[in-house]
Amino acid sequence: MFEQAALIDEMGKLRKFALRLTKNAHNAEDLLQSTMLRALEKKDYFQNETNLFSWTSKIMFNLFVSGYRQKKKFETQYDPAPYIDQMSMGPTQEAHVDFVTVNESMKLLSPEHRQILLLVCVEGMRYEEASKLLKIPVGTVRSRLSRARYHLQELLTPSTPYKNPMLGHLTGSQQERIVA
């Protein structure tokens, strides 16, 4: 097993490796994120005395060969649910985030929040494009998206606090603005 910080430390080298494989920055980022997820899912199999970069780069190469080169979408190949369970809820909790839960949670969001999540997270729309489509400033896109993510996470994992790292650094009025 390895510490998550150690994996983060390898991201730079893994990104370069992904770029060499895919020859494309966007695809490299997809490959990198899929590799990170897979590595976290399988971290119990990592042997401490071995090299983490070698291990993760092997995962990346296997992902690239088995799926990416065939131009399949990563999202359909790799179920993120186990990762969500592990990272967001902790191993002792029995709750299981599945598509039904996501569906119900999305229904509970406001239409504006559903819309911005779907446009940016699902469709991969750029903030500027969403701004033009929705006829709102880019800053509003960013703040609306942030609030939508906050509310969705609260609905998906109500027993786990949203891991917003910024609130401790901000003033009271800024905190209120963010979580409003």
Partner: protein
Amino acid sequence: MLPPIITEFDVQALVDSHLTWEEEKRVLQAIRTDPALHAYYLQIVAQKKLLVAWWKEQATENKTAKSTSHEAGVLLLAGMQ
């Protein structure tokens, strides 16, 4: 001069691939050194992956969404109740 504070918007922009290479390096450095930022980054990545997988599931189950364009499907689903 103090280094600029990395905000949740910076982390989200990283996950949404909206940063330049230089900005990305700055945010990643902060993620490496700040456990709270690290946890937040992982949470946002996981949430985004889950949403994408859920949407694909929806698209296969919902003929209406499947038969419309992506953008129209998004706007249609945004109004669901």
